[in-house]
Symmetry: C2
Subunit: 438 residues, 2 copies
């Protein structure tokens, strides 16, 4: 197969412009048409599953020959089960509520002068992902449902898989009469940087990959970026904690899926409970295969802990490692979290409602939890149906972001020749400002 030459920036801008134009039609497409497009895409993917799996086979062989690391090869590989799962996911997206066209505000400013705020698509999304070709299906379906065009930049090792998938997606779009340019595939590394510079055409960048990759994206574009670079989550076991709950939550939050961004990296424990609770917690965590590193006070309770240093507090291990620190108050726990945390998700275990309230109000994070595992921080678990990403930025959208994160809004004002001069000066007419139903 002959690789196409890398697009020059101007070619890329032309592609982006085509996507933007196609997206304008998609932005006003009915919910029914968008759902028909998703079903047509699902059918096209089913039709072409052999070609898709064969293309993926070529990518996997090339990756093995080039010595790509085993975990990356695993993520690259598609099989019939994975493909069927992804196709089912497209049909799930079709069943979600359309985020476009929602009336968020409806207000009479004066007689015959009506203000509404209506949700509308962002325009064009730029999505950059590593290895996993299944991301193509998920992202394209979320973009279509939210009325946005999308420029997809996959890893070069997945180029054949991505092309086969996008070919099927284009077939589905074409079958319902939608412009295939709304889903665009970029395949070369050079295009990543060029994509990040297209602030005229792209409204939101969604990076999917390692922390360092997300950080790179965040610092190389003026386009808003949805996503988080770090997930340094904490569990604070208070003096008034139920040790059984604390132990179950700690194991769930650390060992269930240690490379998840919502897994904990640091356990904070109140000094009053440390002598009795720490041995229980460490025992359960070690049982689950977790290596524990402790500060001085923790090592006074359990002598054979590895040493935790300043570096540990700021590290996302993505592994079966947990740092433990003993604190003398909930205030100290909160201060530690607000200093070292990544504003993702932090939890307290306590039976003291006042202490829990203090923790929840003072910890600065997208998620603040009481007596449950940090791993609930997830769009599906929150009931959003789909997850675009988890944002650790302070400004909304914050935390797990569903389809709602892919739309914005417009203010629409309809009058009958109304001018502001009427409402100013000595004879100023007052506004009514009355909210209307719907």
């Amino acid at each position: 197969m002959i690789a196409s030459p890398p697009s020059s920036p101007s070619t890329l801008a032309a592609l982006a412009q085509a996507t933007r134009q196609g997206a304008q039609t998609l932005s006003i497409a009915s919910t029914t048409l968008k759902n028909q497009a998703l079903e047509a895409i699902a059918l096209a993917l089913e039709d072409q599953q052999e070609a898709i799996l064969a293309a993926n086979q070529r990518d996997c062989q090339a990756a093995e020959q080039s010595g790509l690391a085993r975990p990356l090869c695993d993520r690259l590989r598609l099989n019939l089960v994975k493909l069927k799962g992804a196709i089912a996911g497209i049909r799930d997206v079709a069943r979600l509520t359309d985020p476009v066209g929602r009336v968020q505000l409806h207000r009479q400013l004066d007689e015959g002068l009506i203000l509404s705020r209506i949700s509308c698509p962002l325009g064009v999304l730029g999505v950059i992902f590593e290895s996993r070709p299944d991301a193509v299906m998920q992202i394209a379906s979320l973009a279509i449902k939210s009325g946005n065009g999308v420029m997809l930049k996959g890893g070069s090792e997945a180029v054949n898989s991505c092309r086969a998938l996008v070919a099927a997606i284009h077939q589905g779009l074409g079958r319902v009469g939608l412009d295939t340019a709304v889903v665009q595939l970029l395949t070369t590394r050079e295009e990543t940087q060029a994509l990040l510079e297209l602030d005229r055409y792209i409204d939101l960048i969604i990076p999917r990959g390692s922390n360092s990759f997300v950080q790179f994206v965040q610092s190389h574009t003026r386009i808003p970026v949805l996503g988080h670079a770090d997930g340094i989550c904490h569990l604070y076991v208070d003096a008034a904690a139920d040790i059984g709950k604390a132990s179950a939550i700690a194991v769930d939050a650390k060992a269930g899926y240690p490379s998840a961004c919502n897994a904990i990296e640091t356990l904070l424990i109140h000094q009053a409970i440390a002598p009795t609770a720490l041995p229980v917690l460490v025992g359960a965590l070690r049982q689950a295969g977790v290596e524990i590193r402790g500060d001085g006070a923790a090592r006074q309770v359990i002598a054979d802990l590895a040493v935790a240093t300043e570096t540990d507090w700021a590290t996302e291990y993505n592994d079966l490692i947990l740092a433990v620190k003993v604190v003398d108050s909930v205030a100290a726990a909160i201060a530690h979290i607000n200093t070292y945390g990544s504003r993702h998700t932090d939890a307290i275990v306590t039976e003291d409602a006042a202490i829990a309230a203090q923790f929840i109000s003072q910890v600065d994070a997208a998620g603040v939890y009481h007596n449950c595992s940090t791993r609930f921080a997830d769009g599906f678990r929150y009931g959003f149906g789909a997850e675009v990403g988890i944002s650790t930025q302070k400004m909304p959208p914050r935390g797990p972001v569903g389809l709602d994160g892919l739309v914005t809004y417009k203010y629409q004002l309809v009058g009958n020749g109304h001018i502001v001069a009427t409402y100013s000066g000595d004879q100023a007419r007052p506004f009514i400002h009355q909210d209307l139903p719907g």
Copy 2:
């Protein structure tokens, strides 16, 4: 008066940290306490009005001696009427609904596992403004009402006025027992750059000043910026326009207050109506003192128009100048707006509902209007009670932003030992995902 030495970056970070700490208490203050603080500030400002006006007098004298331009001197000047107006504004803010603590989502994920999304303050605002000392009172009151700390950086020409105002604000905060560090005043130019680098302590930058100043701020900070650099608004007079409405709206939108960001810079007119409507429109606009520049087609209708070039379409005049372009369709008008506009506010005048709907759905701007003046784009006119700024960014908050733009939200999840392991694997328990009242 001896000027204090400029703060070094480390001193500034210490100040910011103090503001952040104070803001943490303010963030959980009751609505009543925050309103008491606002009333105490209003009273303190009334008490000290003589000292404030005398300080302003010193600033104005120094400005005149140093040859500061007349419009800047005018903006710098406070008098009793302006001061009383600003104090009344503080009491207005006290009457607004508290944006903090609102339950935006309340959902049972499973028995005993309750998710809520609650609005909360951003933390610390960094506000940089030119000349106008009255901004201090407005911004401080909005920050306090929304539970945020604020670092205010005023122009050096207003240093005495700002100090006198902040002294009164501190007195008011002190009287109700709030930490005075929540409102911090910076006064040297060096501090602007240092402030923009404090992304660890400051959550949102609000610049108030010229377009070039806002652009400077936007390109020199990693902190989110609320505001717009340009306001290039359009009025499109369709073939099916009522000429009387079009004429009244054009005059209102251009001549009422030409330096406003929501004033129009370009009038687009359909070729079918240009021969009859353009003379009426140009006559009315010239009557209001507006200079008209036209493209070739417009100058065929009215020969003595100045020539509009490509540059005009991209210019915010901030003056009594208007560019006119003849287009052959609503689609051409939309394409022009989406190319040259600044996504602020654009209006159509037409009696054709289908054309209006097309314009409203396809123009990409924070405000899209039908048969009314673009100058309604304003937080007070929308009924928000206060305006923090107008955002032309695509991501929310977009358009006029009220107190709501100064808060974010947290997800709170409360369980009773709940772990995600329960909800995964072969024996997975299903989620309930049931919305609860309130």
